[in-house]
Symmetry: C2
Subunit: 415 residues, 2 copies
């Protein structure tokens, strides 16, 4: 297989797909044995591309290529290596491996860049294990929060204990940060995770910005009771209240042009013949503007409180995180656009990302831009996630050309 080719990138996506905690779809969560094995594997590939590979103090897999001088700034490239449960093989992974291949191609051609390069395989973008997303990229951005040490996974393990079990020192998480360093910017390639490029018959697209998301843990509490004995008039069925919220989320978000998803829902105690006394569920809410998103949340909260009151239930909200909508930096986006043009698309399509990305966290550290790659039918976070080999080849060309365009712009600015 040709080194640094699209075929190699796709074969490596297949290799990583085998590193999974589950067999019915990929599952690779933060600070797990699968995480360690994926890092080790990707580190080997980084070395083969000429990068100096290392794992940082937050578990991110990084590869460094020194710049022309000791004080040269660095350009960051990357995406994430973790997955949701039941994942496909391209979300995050493809962008990380494209970045490594781009470095390998530039090195093979002997290209000299005016900055150093660093490829980062972020360790936790999805938030699968601890509920809070972007832990890996926040560590790099220097925005790690002390309160996160106490977050627990489904088995009650804290982030702090998981760090120690993984071989990391919680006290040194600050070492992962690039804050204070001279950074040109951050570039991320990623599958679209939506159907717009396919609908427009395009392989690639320029991202204009990333919708902000708010994530909540919600709870309805009533009272468990016998499914036969307790008459309707006296029931305090938490699942009925929660179900009304689930349908209200769709109605209210859809009407407003926002997107709301209840991805988790579990009824307790969870027996066939027991009225559910408590339901835990989640809400992920996104919109083009933070103002719209926040207005829809207020409407949802109002509907939930009303449903709870009418059924004598208690409704509790715990906000896990709120990410502001972010916008790409125009000069970097222009480089992405130039890169796509160089791959043969004369008028690249621009689109907004409804999905969150590591770039949202890195936006606190430096400018960013993103390149989107078409995926089949917009399917993502699912084992049927699929990309075309010829699209990956175009993405590789475009991403390499983007780095060169950034270098050109850098040279012009510093002449």
């Amino acid at each position: 297989m040709t080194p640094f080719s699209a075929d190699e990138v796709l074969a490596r996506c297949d290799v990583l797909a085998g590193i999974s905690a589950a067999t019915d779809g990929i599952e690779r969560a933060y600070l797990t044995p699968e995480h360690a094995r994926a890092n080790w594997t990707v580190g080997e590939w980084m070395d083969a591309a000429g990068l100096d590979a290392w794992q940082d103090a937050a578990g991110n897999q990084r590869g460094t290529l020194a710049g022309p001088t000791a004080d040269a700034p660095i350009l960051l490239l990357g995406s994430h290596l973790d997955t949701v449960p039941g994942a496909g093989r391209y979300d995050g992974i493809l962008g990380t491996l494209l970045a490594i291949a781009v470095v390998g191609r530039l090195r093979a051609r002997g290209v000299e860049l005016p900055f150093g390069l660093e490829v980062i395989g972020f360790a936790d973008e999805e938030g699968t294990r601890f509920g809070r997303t972007l832990l890996g990229s926040c560590a790099v951005a220097g925005t790690w929060q002390e309160s996160w040490w106490g977050l627990r996974d489904a088995h009650g393990t804290t982030v702090r204990d998981a760090f120690i079990a993984f071989g990391l020192d919680p006290a040194r998480v600050g070492d992962a940060s690039l804050r204070g360093q001279s950074i040109v910017g951050y570039l991320e390639a990623h599958i679209e995770q939506g159907p717009l490029l396919q609908d427009a018959d395009r392989a690639l697209g320029v991202v204009e910005g990333i919708m902000g998301a708010r994530r909540f843990e919600l709870q309805m509490t009533g009272e468990a009771g016998h499914a036969g004995g307790m008459p309707y008039g006296r029931r305090r069925d938490a699942l009925l209240g929660a179900s009304e919220v689930v349908t209200a989320v769709e109605a209210l978000a859809r009407d407003a042009g926002a997107i709301g998803t209840v991805g988790r829902l579990h009824a307790y105690p969870g027996a066939m013949n027991v009225i559910p006394g408590r339901v835990e569920f989640s809400l992920d809410l996104r919109a083009e503007t933070d103002a719209l998103r926040d207005r829809v949340w207020r409407e949802i909260e109002e509907a939930a409180l009303k449903a709870a009151a009418s059924r004598n239930l208690a409704f509790d909200v715990h906000e896990l995180h709120a990410a502001r909508a972010t916008h790409v930096a125009a000069p970097l986006a222009a480089a992405v656009e130039a890169g796509i043009r160089a791959s043969g698309d004369a008028a690249p399509m621009r689109l907004l990302s409804k999905a969150g990305h590591d770039a949202m966290a890195i936006a606190d550290l430096c400018d960013y831009a993103m390149l989107f790659i078409r995926c089949k039918d917009g399917v993502s976070h699912h084992r049927d996630e699929s990309v075309r080999a010829d699209d990956v080849a175009l993405a590789l060309d475009a991403f390499e050309a983007t780095v060169l365009a950034v270098a050109d712009a850098h040279d012009r600015a510093h002449d």
Copy 2:
């Protein structure tokens, strides 16, 4: 503590409450270490009451008191020792311990009965572990089904493997059956699990019959996808379909005067940022007549298929069991009524059981009757389940008098 007193019965309920797989409410499922320990403990109490204690081939805890002759028939007394998750301490347990105390009182007084007695602490009434209820009492009734060996618990363990791990021989399950034996009938005391006795200011009641229940495992299947990237028009969100069914169950059952409960619901893959591709949920449906219950099921199924069609989901149904509504035998119910009158209530209240009981399964073997005991606010299948000590004392008197009334009727019939 006075032997065979209400105080002793209540203290023993407290002892059994400590035999639990969970600490936040009682959980004692079929063929678990807690089941074995409860059986052993109850066996000691059976021995102390003069019963010959043994565990049968299906894991039921039984205690035998021989009749006056080798071919004398037997009167069965009992209830169950297993619990739902997050249970209280009286459902099933109280009836079993009352039966033991009644035998102890009769023996202490030297009463000679015209039949043998057998007290049974049934091993699986709730169906908590394998989904199918009444496994213990069906084994005694001789209606054990071969297909049950393959039922699996949440960890994938089959009934067959659980039998072996518990020390039972699946091939000998038939030994638990009383089919072919001469049986006077079956008497069961149980908390009401509803509020009707409390509303009527009564301690005890005569059961007229038990509503039939049907239980289903339901599934909505759509497609998992990214919570941000996938637009509403293309979503196949299984949780939205399931939530519509949950609310339809309430509306349709309530309107028809039936009772429907969705006790279990779990969304998969169960991540905050993933559209649920599949939801598994349960339905427990009861009504005063089987015809009404079956009509309501057809309406619910129609509503579910409509919800599924409108959202491009697949709706699947697996019926776990259907129990016919059963009626008590008038002569045995008359004995229960006489027993309650003997305890001081001149005109005992009659009521229908909306909850299922071991008596439903035993009805295939012999006649049955039941005595209901008031419980606080009708709360059951919940840690707040509560009974009054003076009600338990009345129940003990009434249950003992019931056995004597059965003996009188038996003597009159055989004179």
